[in-house]
């Protein structure tokens, strides 16, 4: 465990930051932040091995509240920033966080391409159905006809299903947690971080200020006869998401169909846990490491540029030669 002692003698995570937090009381973000801090500590990473990239919105502020490399990027662009850092320095553990509007609306193109690239990073979408920081507009996961308190009229758009989108895009680890189930969330975060490809973890969370429809009571199923609540764990019911490294097409098809089935469930029974876990798909960093000269010697972050005198190390003789012409004397 990486702990640091505080003045009062309490053990605190090395990743803990004392910065004042300006999220609303009761916000699901707190559960996610706590889980992330616990997970990073539990898997014994050092703060200078971890870079947390945030999008824009309440969730995007997460990097400020962790003591590690924390990068608050642009709305929708968190994945390209994170991917650039990971490819240039693959030794970094890279985590991207952002809201559902950030990742599924303005950043949807990057989400799709991040899945396609299958770079080893973890993307956590804080899913609360609203744009909180701009005061409660409908976000892409809000369902058709739903009306949260700041909306003038019910939503006229169908929602986006993040699990389905992630599956189609090629994410190789797809999971869903709940902000207030910290034990499960820590487990999911650890799996996602350890997964060697692109991982998408969606975290359902109440927005106590703007989303009165999906509050803690709703997730607890207080409006239902069933007192176990809406949420259940796929793995508790024996769901096996794994596509092993040597799997054939039939296994892949079956696991994808299974993922689609689980992704479709909503309303009274909402699955959490791991939906899909594919170890069979190519990862961008593999061909890069194989094909790029010197990648095994120095990653882009470490690439030597100049000697001690500050002169270029690159030797371009052969490159120039290919573009050179030798003048010849022709006897007539």
């Amino acid at each position: 465990m990486n702990d640091k002692k505080t003045a009062t003698g309490h053990s605190k995570s090395l990743f803990h930051s004392d910065r004042a937090n300006d999220w609303c009381a009761g916000c699901g973000d707190f559960g996610i932040l706590r889980s992330l801090e616990k997970t990073l500590t539990a898997i014994e990473l050092s703060p200078d091995q971890v870079a947390v990239f945030g999008g824009i919105g309440c969730s995007g502020k997460t990097p400020y509240y962790l003591s590690t490399y924390g990068i608050h990027t642009l709305h929708g662009r968190v994945l390209p920033f994170a991917t650039g850092a990971k490819l240039a320095n693959p030794a970094l553990t890279v985590i991207a966080v952002g809201g559902d509007g950030d990742g599924l609306s303005i950043g949807a193109g990057h989400l799709v391409n991040a899945g396609r690239r299958n770079v080893d990073l973890t993307y956590i979408i804080f899913d609360n159905g609203v744009y909180g920081l701009t005061k409660g507009q409908a976000s892409p996961t809000l369902h058709y006809g739903e009306q949260t308190k700041a909306m003038a009229t019910p939503s006229m758009l169908e929602h986006i299903n993040p699990q389905m989108l992630a599956l189609a895009a090629g994410f190789t680890w797809i999971g869903r947690g709940y902000a207030y189930d910290v034990a499960q969330l820590c487990d999911l975060m650890e799996q996602a971080i350890r997964h060697p490809g692109s991982a998408l973890l969606t975290v359902l969370q109440p927005c106590p200020t703007y989303n009165q429809l999906h509050d803690k009571d709703w997730y607890a199923g207080k409006d239902l006869d069933d007192t176990t609540g809406r949420l259940y764990s796929l793995q508790d019911e024996g769901y096996d998401p794994l596509v092993p490294p040597d799997a054939g097409q039939a296994t892949l098809d079956q696991k994808m169909l299974q993922c689609l089935g689980a992704a479709q469930q909503w309303d009274t029974r909402i699955p959490t846990g791991v939906f899909f876990h594919d170890l069979n798909k190519p990862r961008l960093l593999d061909p890069i490491a194989q094909r790029h000269s010197g990648f095994d010697i120095a990653t882009p972050a470490q690439q030597p540029v100049c000697d001690k005198e500050g002169h270029p190390l690159a030797c371009l003789d052969t490159h120039f030669e290919a573009l050179s012409v030798r003048t010849r004397n022709i006897e007539r």
């Binding site: 703060p47 200078d48 490399y69 990027t73 850092a85 240039a88 010697i297 972050a301 500050g310 573009l323």
Partner: protein
């Protein structure tokens, strides 16, 4: 064959996909290997196959800086090329064309622009000639233009027989027949052509055999039918000592400059005319290093230019020398990341290949229309450095230097280029980079794990803080696109805001204080002359050539090429331009964007603004003519250069 001003202008036209680009390259290299200087200019449509493209080579024993708008020898094998360029052939020039095309009616040419058809029709209406290729040739014959009909069909049929190929397969060598026939007319040794063909087709024995035989046939044909034309061209074979010379285009030059600088990461999204550079860069793997190791930049094609700029930023944060390369429409998408890089003091290099805008504009044509955009791109105020290359050689050294600026001042650097530079290929002396200095800026180190997190944005008098990297030991820090304190934590405190704005924006003054004058501008011609031209970017070549010709005509002119466009070198220009009369501003755009900057910063605009916005680059000839008019007192305050035949 007569030359003008000791230069010979060679032009080949043909449909895209017919290989004229490749064969023009062979021809250019062959000419260069004879010891002559070559300046190549390429025009093409935004199209894969069939539309017209052409390639100019200006050839001279002396260094050349721009193309010519007239052709001393026009090489064609299709009717459309003949229609488009016949009127630009010099009075005593030669025209190679397909014998079979003589009866082609102009109306049958689907890709000929309606405007051009109208112009030609009007000409026919006056002359009474039939509206065919033969009629068109008749129109120029009285000017002394010499037609050189080439029976391509017969030559190809013979070639097919000789190589045991179908007529269709042999047809692929029509470009080689055309180019070789022109080379023979010029008196260029066929050995030089064949050596360069081996260079291009070395891996494909069948194509090499076909093309070599095509060269032989073309030379035989010319010897038999046009011996007089090739009788004596001693200037093509000036005896010189054997030496190496570069034959390189702007895209390649930029890529090699980046490699010399140690670029480790480049992103791009496909776009004309910028992508050539990224593709070339990627193909240069491996790069040997002087320490015995080797490396290669990671070149990545990504989903869009937003991702390209963001990803390059992400990589730069880890310490990799990072760049992205794009053109106007892509640069539009990069502006938010540019602002982020300014806010977070990220050394990001953006190679911006300007093309005709706005919107899709003219993807394969040139313009210097993005100067004001590059200077102002992004909302709010943040420092950036904008430098512009004027020629293919500048492209190399500027691309190399861009990384030094980016890391020294920790800001985005926009390296301005354009389509004209990208597709200009020319002979140049070998580039010397081994003794150039690499400047990685203020590095950060911390041996005390307890002294973290670190203040990434510590306030300093220069505005530049030492730069911790993502993944560096004991260097944990925050970064934010939101206004932030010295630790990178979001802050809306008014005093913090003021300090941070001052810190960042001070870099602009720091740059102006630090950089020597020669990194800000170049002066050419007579430095004491009052007649002053000021230009930036790829118009440099045309201006240099025009100044040279003015001097040959005993008119002393001074030309200034601005290299540093932002921060604007106000002080140097104020001094330099104090007694300028007349002041001529030359640039390829509509509004005179540099002129606007001059008015804004030194309160002195052009007496004569010389512009061009047709999507084609300026030539030395056109600028020279305009300068002569200005010198004679006939210059207009604003003069746009035109050429309907480009």
């Amino acid at each position: 064959m007569k030359r003008h001003n000791n230069e010979l202008a060679w032009r080949i036209g043909g449909p895209q996909g017919s290989g004229i680009d490749r064969l023009a390259n062979v021809f250019g290299r062959a000419i260069a290997s004879s010891g002559l200087k070559v300046f190549g200019h390429r025009e093409y449509h935004s199209n894969i196959l069939g539309r017209h493209s052409y390639f100019d080579f200006c050839i001279s024993p002396d260094p050349l800086n721009s193309h010519r708008e007239t052709a001393d020898i026009l090489v064609t094998f299709d009717a459309e090329s003949l229609c488009r360029h016949l009127l630009t052939v010099a009075d005593d020039g030669h025209v190679l064309f397909a014998t079979d095309d003589a009866d082609v009616a102009l109306d049958s040419l689907a890709f000929l622009d309606a405007r051009l058809k109208q112009d030609i029709s009007a000409m026919f209406a006056q002359s009474g000639q039939p509206p065919t290729i033969a009629g068109l040739l008749e129109q120029v014959r009285h000017r002394g233009v010499q037609p050189v009909p080439i029976p391509y069909s017969e030559l190809l049929a013979a070639l097919a027989h000789e190589c045991k190929l179908s007529r269709h397969q042999a047809g692929r060598a029509i470009n080689t027949l055309a180019v070789a026939a022109s080379a023979a007319l010029l008196g260029l040794s066929n050995e030089l052509m064949i050596t360069e063909l081996e260079n291009v087709f070395g891996n494909d024995p069948d194509m090499l055999s076909l093309n070599t035989r095509a060269v032989a046939r073309a030379y035989d044909f010319v010897a038999e039918h046009h011996n007089s034309a090739s009788a004596s061209q001693p200037w093509l074979h000036e005896q010189r000592k054997v030496r190496e010379t570069l034959f390189i285009n702007g895209s390649q030059s930029v890529a090699l400059g980046k490699l010399a600088a140690g670029i480790a990461f480049q992103t791009y999204y496909p776009i004309s005319p910028a992508s050539d550079e990224s593709l070339f860069l990627e193909s240069q793997d491996p790069i040997p290093l002087r320490n015995g190791s080797h490396a290669a930049p990671l070149v990545l094609q990504v989903e869009d230019e937003i991702a390209a700029a963001s990803m390059a930023c992400g990589a730069a944060l880890t310490g990799a020398r990072s760049a992205t390369s794009t053109s106007g429409p892509g640069f539009c998408l990069m502006t938010e990341s540019l602002g982020w890089a300014g806010m977070n003091e990220v050394p990001l290099v953006v190679s911006l290949y300007q093309r005709g805008g706005p919107s899709t504009g003219m993807p394969t044509r040139t313009e210097q229309g993005d100067l004001q955009f590059a200077i102002h791109a992004g909302h709010g105020e943040f420092p950036r450095l904008v430098l512009a290359s004027g020629d293919v050689e500048d492209c190399f050294y500027d691309a190399m230097q861009a990384f030094n600026y980016a890391e020294r001042y920790q800001l985005p650097v926009i390296h301005m280029l354009d389509k004209a530079l990208a597709s200009t290929s020319q002979t140049l002396p070998l580039f010397r980079y081994e003794d150039k200095k690499i400047d990685r800026g203020e590095s950060f180190s911390n041996n005390d794990p307890k002294a973290t997190p670190v203040a990434r944005f510590a306030l300093t008098s220069s505005g530049i803080s030492s730069r911790p990297l993502l993944g560096q030991d004991n260097a944990q820090h925050w970064l934010s696109g939101a206004e932030h304190d010295t630790y990178g934590q979001v802050s809306e405190d008014p005093v913090v805001r003021e300090h941070m704005m001052e810190k960042r924006m001070h870099k602009l003054q720091q740059i102006l204080d630090d950089l020597p004058a020669e990194e800000k501008l170049n002066i050419y011609g007579n430095e004491t002359a009052r007649f002053t031209i000021i230009t930036w970017g790829s118009t440099k070549g045309a201006v240099w050539d025009a100044v040279k010709r003015m001097a040959q005509n005993d008119i002393e002119v001074r030309a200034i090429q601005l290299r540093l466009l932002w921060p604007f070198p106000t002080e140097e220009l104020t001094t330099l331009l104090a007694d300028a009369a007349p002041l001529v501003v030359v640039e390829c755009n509509y509004s005179g964007q540099l002129n606007t900057l001059l008015r804004e910063h030194i309160e002195r605009g052009a007496d004569h603004l010389l512009i061009k916005y047709s999507g084609r680059p300026m030539s030395g000839d056109a600028v020279f003519t305009a300068l002569q008019e200005i010198h004679a007192g006939n210059g207009a305050p604003r003069r746009a250069l035109h050429n309907p035949n480009e």
